[in-house]
Symmetry: C3
């Protein structure tokens, strides 16, 4: 559906330049946008593409306005403005209510008339599927789960029994919510005795969970994911973890059991977070780091090493193995120098 | 179902304090347990909560007995005792035998009368499903697999053809057992020629496999998971790996091809284990470490770096890049000092 | 099906030694091969097993020919020769065309007569399934996807809407192609605004994707996987990544958004690749390394630290925390030494 530049300016809270009545159908990349497309440029890196753009309109920083002779929307945060415009021009498909005949729905489940239940889905006893929910193909919703209004469970996602998912969430394909936590005690003969995992996963509103990400149910209490949390793909959240509102984690992060993570944290890809630690609000952890002990926020933490040429690396690693001795040698050298300087006997 | 304190004391091998006939229904966390709940405290960290607990009974260390006026079970390992009690009070749901009409079961498969086959499951030709097995919703069991008695395959788990799973195993949702190993040889023009993966995955009794964990089939021989092994979520086990009995691995571990891992090892989260190495019995590897070469057990190994403030980290990393030169400079300084001390000509 | 040694020599481009008419049924490991099996030895490590092998034939290096009195094929790359022979002796099962009655196929989908659609599969509107494709049990193919000829989608793989998969690909069980990329902008109040993910995943011919691996669709443009790329299990490929032809990645690799990776790269297990960087052709990255910035190829890069005894490690890590100060102390010691040598006043 088309919108005028004027309408887009309103949603983007931007200043207009050019023809307010020109119509835009879709968003597009800066270098491939056509006459009915809108694109954006927020950084110097792509600035040189602005003058040549054939877009019907651009979202630009005010200081770049002169670079483009066509229609433009000017604002201080073109990326956010563009995201608002993209959500307007490309809304999610309307939910078509109904139950695919191949879906298996327990008679005791409460499924809203306005929900869409896809082919091969399974909804177990006493589950509650609220209004506007989309249950994708092959999804499994366990017994007594509650899926909040307008949430989407994508293809083959699994929600195990008794878990609660908030409203407007997206659970991506293959994600597993509510698997049993990894809880064992070791017997003296080396065997592991399982500790029953009796808690749930409780997920707030507006949470997104990535593809094949796993969130284990709590052992005694619950695993709790706050409102607005965004989790990328292939993340592991262990039992009894708590994640504060609006925290975001990139792909391949692992969070060990009972860690408590604050609000608005940003955890980059590949990070490991130790169990039983507390992470304050507004903490950032850089990619591939290992957060081993509790930290207060705000703050930015890191322990990753960037790759270099493998032969240089091998030499440095060789030194690292003897780091402690090397530091001791330096200490001795300093002491000797001090003796020399003091004129003491050598 | 309720048990008396006397019955719980017997299963926990603990000393009783208080009313032996008081009844307990369920386990609960120390700070939320009610009159018919039992909780535990094993560590100093939570000791301050003991006196205020409203639990019907507590499992405590003998030295903490005086802190609690109510019913208590005293023993030297409250966590293990509590795990035994929790297993008694919260047994797994009884398996309801039967085959859901939506399941697709090949006529040549041998499915025990006492097994439970869930909705949308697929059981392929000549597979064997032994007594008491639970095949969850949407599970796929490939041709000629054998699933041992009382094993549970949870929602959407996939067991590819010809794999053997022992008795009393739990394969968590989304786990993939028996995918093809990553085996290729490189042609001179850069193309990869696939090496057929002709082995199986053979899993012993009492093995637990976590959600979305993957275990590849062997190339020529088999991938072998010993008895009592416990694997957490999102673990990758490559082709021809052997894992010894009762070894446990936490989430996000990756084990490369043909690694041989001993018994009773404890591999913490995020660890990488190199291919073709041998790891002895009773080896521990700390979280986020990289085990690159063979090690004997028992022993504890590590290579992880804990995160610190990002700006301090950046300075240290900058130094690391020149570690080799720095070590050479120290060597020269030491030699010069020696020359000075020996009164040699400078 | 049996082949003569002569036939195997032809496919392996090897020199024969022994009885050209002897028949071989199957490949086997060197130490377990019987009279109708063929095995190989390419490395010194297993050379001692050659003389005792009971195999019907061996593939050997020419210099090892004298070690084995039986039938042999001699060539300079026994592993590649063996792979060719294994592909001949163990071809994939013939595809049996047809549609399982439990599969749900949208009437607007175009499914080739020669394709095989497994039980519980879902094929959505306007999807195209070309000739010889195998759609495994429980697979989901989204609307408007195109699956190229002779590709296999294994059990429970998910291909989200509008994605293109080339010919002769293998998408392993549980893999998710075309999940939504992790794209958000942060509002001033800390909430995350989703950026619609409007691109596709475009996968070339002869690509293999491992079990539970995830490849996200592009935000505006596409995520592109080149021809002949091989991806192992549990890999995360973020939105708008480009991977060049014949690049291979081992398990648990994570590639962040918009990274551009060259041709014929070899990325070992557990590697993290930063977003928005460019990696040249023929780049190798060693296991568990973090490629943080762009590199040209060819070249080999590393940043992993091998595990050592945990107590030695702890001492070295302690030193690392003060690396910057230590380097400064060395600098001062060097300067003092220079002053001493120059006879300046101390």
């Amino acid at each position: 559906m088309a919108y005028t530049l004027r309408e887009l300016a309103a949603v983007a809270q931007a200043t207009m330049q050019g023809n307010a009545e020109s119509e835009i159908d879709a968003v597009a990349p800066l270098d491939r946008a056509g006459a009915r497309h809108i694109a954006y440029c927020a950084s110097g890196h792509y600035r040189s593409l602005i003058p040549e753009s054939t877009a019907g309109a651009l979202v630009l920083l005010p200081e770049d306005a002169d670079l483009f002779p066509g229609n433009a929307l000017l604002c201080h945060d073109p990326r956010t403005a563009f995201a608002r415009i993209a959500n307007l021009l490309h809304p999610r498909e309307t939910v078509v209510p109904g139950r695919h005949p191949s879906a298996v729905i327990d008679p005791s489940a409460l499924v809203s008339e306005s929900a869409s239940i896809g082919p091969q889905a399974v909804i177990e006893a006493e589950a509650v599927i609220e209004s506007g929910v989309v249950v994708g193909p092959g999804v499994v919703v366990g017994a007594r789960c509650v899926i909040g209004a307008n949430t989407r469970l994508e293809a083959r996602a699994v929600i195990m029994h008794d878990c609660l998912i908030g409203k407007r969430c997206v659970i991506s394909p293959g994600a597993v919510i509510g698997g049993e936590g990894f809880g064992y005690v070791r017997e003296q003969d080396g065997h592991w005795l399982v500790v029953p995992q009796l808690g749930r996963v409780v997920i707030g509103d507006d949470v997104d969970v990535g593809a094949n990400t796993t969130i284990d149910r709590g052992a005694l209490g619950d695993t709790v994911i706050g409102e607005g949390v965004k989790l990328d793909n292939l993340i592991q959240i262990a039992h009894n973890v708590k994640i504060g509102d609006n925290t975001a984690m990139a792909g391949c992060v692992g969070v060990a059991g009972s860690a408590v993570i604050g609000k608005r944290c940003m955890i980059a890809g590949g990070v490991g977070i130790m169990g039983h630690i507390t992470v304050g609000d507004d903490v950032e952890v850089t990619a591939m780091s290992f957060l081993k002990s509790s930290v207060d926020g705000p703050g930015r933490f890191s322990s990753s090493l960037p790759a270099t040429s493998a032969d240089i690396w091998a030499r440095n690693v060789g030194r690292f193995r003897h780091f402690d001795q090397l530091a001791r040698r330096l200490r001795r050298a300093e002491q000797t120098i001090k003796q020399i300087l003091s004129g003491g006997k050598h």
